[in-house]
Amino acid sequence: MTDHPQALSAADFAPASARPDAHGITRPSQSYWQDAWRRLRHNKRAIASLWIVIFLLAFTLIGPLLWRVDPYAQNLDRISQPPTLAAQTLLVERGVQWEGVTLPQWPHAPSREWLTDPQRIELPAPEAMEVVGDPHTLSVRLRWSPVANAAGYQVYRNTYRPTAVNELGLPLGETWAGNDVGYEDQLALTPNTYWYSVTATDGLRESEQFASIAVDVQLATTIESALARGLIPSRDAAQAGDYVAMPANPFGTDYLGRDMLARLMHGARTSLFIGIAAPLLFVLFGTVYGAFAGFAGGRTDDFMMRIADFVIALPFLLFMILIRVASGIGPGESGIMPLLMALVVLSWPATARLVRGQILQIREEGYVQAARLLGARDHYLILRHMVPNTLGVILVTLTFAIPTAIFTEAFLSFIGMGVAPPVPSWGSMSNEGLKSMLNSPHELFFPALFISITVLAFNMLGDGLRDALDARMRSRE
């Protein structure tokens, strides 16, 4: 319309012809759910979260079908490996323990004169050091030249060249005789360059002089364990000295050499089972309980809600332990069922309160009054009006309950009340990873990452759902 006055003609005053489509609906009719979905789709964070949730479900359910690695299989040749691709490993025979090197002619203890000499000087370092045989991750064998008046030797290992006595590194072991000049190192070797050092001791004082040698260690596996792990088809298919491919560990391995990816997949089962089963159960129970209380009203409502208040006041951890004890869980058995029970028994009142509030509100709405006046029965009212109108709230509660439950499971497994070893769960994996956080951070990082991502995704999805389902939010668009 325009403000400017215009000259009017008679035609302007002729009656308009009827337009049958004047009040027609131009856009397709949208139900509550369609509308909610439309708004959810516009929420980028929520959609991203939804994809993450779908991915997590796929990771858990389909993942183990694609990544067919036994999550319980220990590979002691690769303990606490950071994420690695497939590597070639040398096959070796199962080694007999090396007896070391004992020189028959050399005295095994210092001479008495030397020991009693108060002016005695420090023992020198061994003059030469060498590696015996092939150094690999199963064994590095060292020998060195003897030192006169030594009563034994200390063997050290480090990952860089020691320049002073304080840089010798880990004290691996010692020999107890001056003519014992060999040492076999098998301690947690990884494919790497190591610096071995040897000092002599007269039994009282260890010398500050040391001899060092650099050793390149290559990855090796015994034929037996290669066979047990299916790296070679049969005992005759390979022989010592051959190389075979060791499978990749994209997420690394844990403290017993188990594949982290496989364990994360299996751990997700526990986490997601609790995360989904527990909220489903307690939200369902809370809904029925709250709906009944709200609908019945009066003293029944009062009484039922006081019970809910009572349950809310119960301390979760204490009851979790009580239920665990009461259900007769023996040592070493999984605590997942009591955990589920505790979650259901103690978590429903929040939902019940919420649903009751909604029902109380809806009960007084005009359309419900109208339906009642028209003679609608209770069950009609519940099914036609109450449930559909509370469904949004219930759904939002459910989505928010899932991350809480996952987090609770992780927490309880973290403190050792959840799964029993060797069954993994993200919580128990984090707990184990924490112990070696400084050396192999990946053991803590991945399970913690998965917990964080899952909790975040479910929270953001819940956020989006709440925005989408809340009728009042429409005005904000």
Partner: protein, 563 residues
Amino acid sequence: MTGNLTLETLETHDGLRARGDPALPAVRLVLPLLVATLTLALLAPAADGRLREAVDAESRTLTLVLEQDPPQLDSTRSTDTVSIRVLGHVKEGLTRYDERNQLIGGVAERWEVREDGATFWLRRDARWSDGAPVTAHDFVYAWRRVQDPATTSEYAFIMYGIENAEAVNTGALPPSELGVRAAGDHILEVGFERPIPFFARLAAFAVFLPVREDFAATRGDRYGSSAADMLYNGPFVISRWSRGARLTLDRNPHYWESDAIWLNRIDFGYITADTRAELNLFRDGKVAMANLDSETMHNALQQRWRIHRFDDGVLFYVGFNHRPDRLTRNRNLRRAFDLTFDPHEFVNRIIATPGNRPGISLFPAWMQGAEGRLREEVPPRPSEVDLERARHYLELAREELGLERFPPIVLLTGDSPTANKQAEYLQSMWGQTLGLEIRVDVQIFRQRLAKMTAGDYDLVLAGWGPDYNDPLTFGDLFASWNLNNRGRYANDELDHWVRRAQNELDPHLRAQAFGEIQRIVAEDVVVIPTYERARLYVMHPRLKGVVRRQISPDPDFNRAWIE
């Protein structure tokens, strides 16, 4: 008799195993003291004009950490390693160990051990910290006190073998009937009920330390509870003992060999069992020594400190429950377990901290035999891994037990991270190799001990530390009468050899008896030895002459000096 049963962890200090008195009265007492000490501690640097240093060559002072406050220092009642360590610096027994861990005379100048008894000739210059001479009567009084049922000494059993000791301890005879008497002031005569060939070494143990009767009588129950309520005859005296905060040892001028002691003061200035805190104190130059665990080890590596190791003497093993209603009573089943266990793999891949030795025998590698090391005199059978034979024995066991398949087997273990890791490895390993379902039962130390005593387990991860420097401290562990034989293993042949080892005087025949015990334990798979523990520690580079040993007192600073 919690004795020396030890936790299977690198982190936990043995000293924690026996804490003393009820807490509440102590708290009331300690709190004002604590406030007072804190105030003093704050004022002290100002008064001295300088801060405490870890090592101070000028004043010859050493500052150290103590893992816990000694519950009390009455040597007749001490059981924990911390108390025994402190006692080892402030008191001296008949014998002691030197820097090379050789037995030498302490208060006793020389001695003679016979089949029916022993005689100790005491040095005349040994003095108490009040200047009075140390006499044979002080030993007689102390030992009677140990056996007196009223003292309730947990280590009373260690003297059994002395004439009438057991009868006195059970109350059947009065303490005056104990077979020990003073022949004059400087000769101590001990009568034996049965031969104790290693008695001179045993006499170095803490409960054999002297106590002076006239002094102890004036103190009554308070004896050993504070610095003033004790009398000392060792290289040091306790000059200050602030409960829970600080324990200071000063050089004892009355000590007979006081000239050989370089240090003027050993100051246990901090009392904490937290290895992380200990390492921080070390880093800040406040203490001269810090023990490392599997985690702080890496910090020490990063700091480029020199790391030392020593065998701390404790042997760890998988124990079986031999009670009649248990599956693990079946020898073939135990054999199957044994034949699948590889101690080398266990030590190098699972425990994976340096220095530990694979467990291949009941007797640790450092144990002394007749002349050299026991291990060389009676070599143990090397451990073997043989899956096929293991499965064969498992099948035999299944048939003997009349089982369709094996029920779950419970593996009892401690609650430390290392113990968990070990248990989980064994669980998976035996699951894979033998197809057995192992359930891991994680318990705190006391609860684990209670369950072991009650027999509520199949397998247990346990450890044993030596009380005295003789193979018998391990050798009699599975004798049918030993209360620490918590698996209730009973074997007449083993008992026979234990008695032989107890009674035999000839060192070579004794070594052979230990060889037989070693053989039976291995063949009958009484336990599966897993590893011999080593400890790692860092020490101030100028601190010298500190002795680490398997038998308390460890560490020994008596003859230490600062360069």
